[in-house]
């Protein structure tokens, strides 16, 4: 971890409370790297989060203004701060359940308004902090504490949801590929409009253990195997794409994969 990143964190809050191998830690790493490379002045940057493990990424780890709010409400709180002081660069970092389940309404309206706001959704497909309950993003058939016989419901495709709501920058990357992730995060942060980055971030403790993933690395490996960039997907048949997850920049000026 380089010097620039060290200056952007509250070192006394480390080691983090995240589980060993938590994808959110890798995402934290990528976000900090993005800001370091952008050479942004964190003094005018506000990080807003809700409730859940992902919400603890910025608070209290980032040495910047952080607003740790209520479950599902990060985007609404962020909207108020941005409206009153548009000079603030406002980044929301929160989890999939927080942003798309209880917070779903605020998410689609913010996307519709296209207000300059970056929402980083740490998607671990589970409610991790409370012990592993099913979420709106949990894959069909997955085992969770509230779907002990397998999830009977389909998950959201968050990128399609947010695109349909009107977001002008929409992208998805797994934490397993940190370089494209950081590159996309930088674009999302600089985007003059509503930007949404879904980050596939494994939860080894609550999701992994119940769904036959033997280690954090196994989940990283699985992400590398199931994620297919838009570019690569062009050359694959529908059979080959079965069970794969498309990643890359779906909506946005000058998008690439």
């Amino acid at each position: 971890m380089n010097e620039k990143i060290f200056q952007m964190i509250n070192a006394q809050a480390f080691p983090t409370p995240f589980c060993p191998g938590c994808g959110h830690g890798i995402l934290m790493n990528a976000v900090l790297r993005a800001f370091a490379e952008l050479e942004y002045d964190l003094k005018q940057t506000l990080f807003v989060s809700g409730i859940g493990c992902a919400a603890w990424i910025p608070s209290p780890h980032f040495k910047a203004d952080t607003l740790h709010t209520l479950h599902g409400r990060a985007i609404a709180y962020a909207t108020g701060a941005k409206l009153f002081n548009p000079k603030l660069k406002v980044i929301v970092i929160s989890g999939d359940g927080d942003l798309s389940s209880i917070g779903g309404n605020h998410l689609i309206h913010a996307a519709r308004r296209n207000m300059e706001l970056t929402v980083v959704c740490a998607n671990n497909s589970i409610y991790g902090m409370t012990g592993g309950q099913v979420a709106s993003t949990t894959p069909l058939g997955s085992l969770t504490t509230t779907t002990p016989k397998g999830n009977p419901d389909r998950p959201f495709d968050l990128c399609k949801l947010v695109e349909a709501a009107g977001a002008t920058f929409v992208a998805r990357h797994p934490v397993a590929t940190p370089i494209p992730l950081t590159r996309t995060l930088k674009k999302a942060i600089a985007h003059r409009g509503f930007s949404f980055v879904e980050v596939l971030s494994p939860c080894p403790t609550q999701f992994g253990r119940r769904n036959a993933f033997r280690s954090p690395f196994a989940m990283i490996q699985a992400l590398k195997n199931t994620c297919v960039s838009l570019e690569r997907a062009k050359g694959l048949s529908p059979e080959e794409l079965e069970g794969k997850v498309l990643v890359g920049e779906f909506v946005g000026p000058g998008k690439n994969n």
Binding site: A13, P60, T69, R73, Y77, T79, G80, A81, L83
Partner: protein
């Protein structure tokens, strides 16, 4: 309270205004520069006035997707430096309740106007009631000492909005204006003076924003973008905002200070308005629009030879416990006229052994003076 004199937002003089409109003007006079809201009868007029007036004074207006979005963005804007408010009715307060608790623990100043309507639930949207007196204090889980005022005139819709805002900023609490549909939609004269007195947030860079040396102190409040690296959180926290969810000493101190920072100074907040009480033998307690009828009722009772007096509650929270105890000592019976099933009457019984007779009315209509007169006469001690 260190108040600063500023010019009124409107030219001084006499105005004829609706209560809701006067509330919006009071807010602007107090320095409110952020409004977020959601339409709800009978408070929408406040929002409509704000959408026109805020841009005129360099403020920001936002209609959010729901009441939860409204109170959330109010709190976000407050931390970005704004004097911020929202206005709603009972159903909206129900939705906002979680965020009210958030404002309590983060010590976020803000004003929430509740133009009460007949409930519970959807109830009768266009009809007055006073059914939310307890919920603004006890709705959010945990302990708090919020401040709340109940206006009885269009003038007070203006004046008490300013006062509530000032206390919100002084004590760093969410403050409430407990209006009702009757006074909200009432049109009356309003006098706007040359100047108003406002309280501006205290800022001391470098000092802890969430704790004080004193057990009843109010910390200074930085804003986002000032380099304070603020750590605002709804979890229990230390004076710098670091989460302390396993530390009992921190929880004890925080919860005590959040209550005592207002409770220890409640005499500054509590405001009552006595009428004909000097030689009264029976007392009538009322607040908000109902107090107008109560005042008429005591005058009528006097004509009938009953020495009645009225104590109007202007502030509702913190509760006027000493004033009620004092009233109880002077009167043989106290009657409480209110558009609910006895919420304030119940509270008063805690502070006096003198019989408190509840005169509730919850048919969606205002209380008439004759009804109060009859209620007193039928229940004379």
């Amino acid at each position: 309270m260190q108040l600063k004199k500023v010019k009124s937002a409107l030219p001084p003089g006499w105005y004829f205004m609706q209560g809701d409109e006067a509330c919006a003007e009071g807010a602007i006079a107090a320095g409110c520069r952020f409004y977020a809201g959601y339409p709800i009868t009978p408070a929408s007029e406040i929002m409509i006035r704000m959408v026109h007036r805020l841009p005129e004074v360099g403020g920001t207006f936002m209609q959010m997707e729901d009441e939860i979005g409204s109170i959330s963005s109010v709190i976000g804007a407050a931390w970005a430096g704004a004097k911020a408010m929202t206005a709603t009715s009972g159903p909206g307060i129900s939705l906002m309740t979680e965020s009210i608790g958030y404002a309590v623990i983060t010590e976020t100043p803000c004003l929430i106007v509740d133009v009460q309507r007949a409930g519970p639930s959807t109830g009768q949207a266009t009809r007055p009631a006073q059914g939310d007196m307890m919920m603004v204090k006890w709705g959010a889980h945990g302990d708090n000492e919020i401040v709340a005022f109940s206006p009885w005139s269009v003038q007070e819709m203006y004046d008490l909005t300013i006062k509530a805002f000032n206390f919100a900023e002084q004590f760093r609490v969410p403050a409430f204006l407990l209006a009702d549909e009757a006074v909200g939609h009432l049109r009356e004269t309003l006098v706007i003076k040359e100047e108003v007195e406002v309280f501006d947030r205290v800022k001391i860079p470098g000092q802890a924003p969430f704790g004080t040396e004193e057990i009843n102190g109010v910390p200074p409040m930085p804003a986002f973008g000032e380099g304070a690296n603020l750590l605002v959180t709804g979890s229990t926290h230390d004076p710098w905002g670091f989460r302390k969810t396993q530390d009992s000493a921190t929880q004890a101190r925080l919860t005590e200070r959040l209550v005592r920072k207002v409770r220890d100074f409640k005499s500054e907040v509590i405001q009552t308005d006595p009428h004909l009480l000097e030689d009264a033998e029976v007392g009538v307690v009322a607040y908000g629009f109902t107090a107008r009828a109560a005042l008429q009722a005591v005058k009528t009772l006097r004509k009938k030879g009953i020495k009645a007096g009225m104590l109007r509650l202007v502030s509702i929270w913190p509760f006027a416990d000493e004033a009620i105890a004092d009233l109880g000592k002077r009167c043989r019976a106290i009657y409480v006229a209110e558009m609910n099933r006895g919420q304030i009457a119940g509270e008063m019984k805690k502070y006096t052994a003198t019989p408190v007779i509840s005169l509730p009315k919850t048919n969606g209509e205002v209380i008439e003076p004759a009804e109060i007169v009859e209620g007193v006469r039928r229940n004379l001690p």
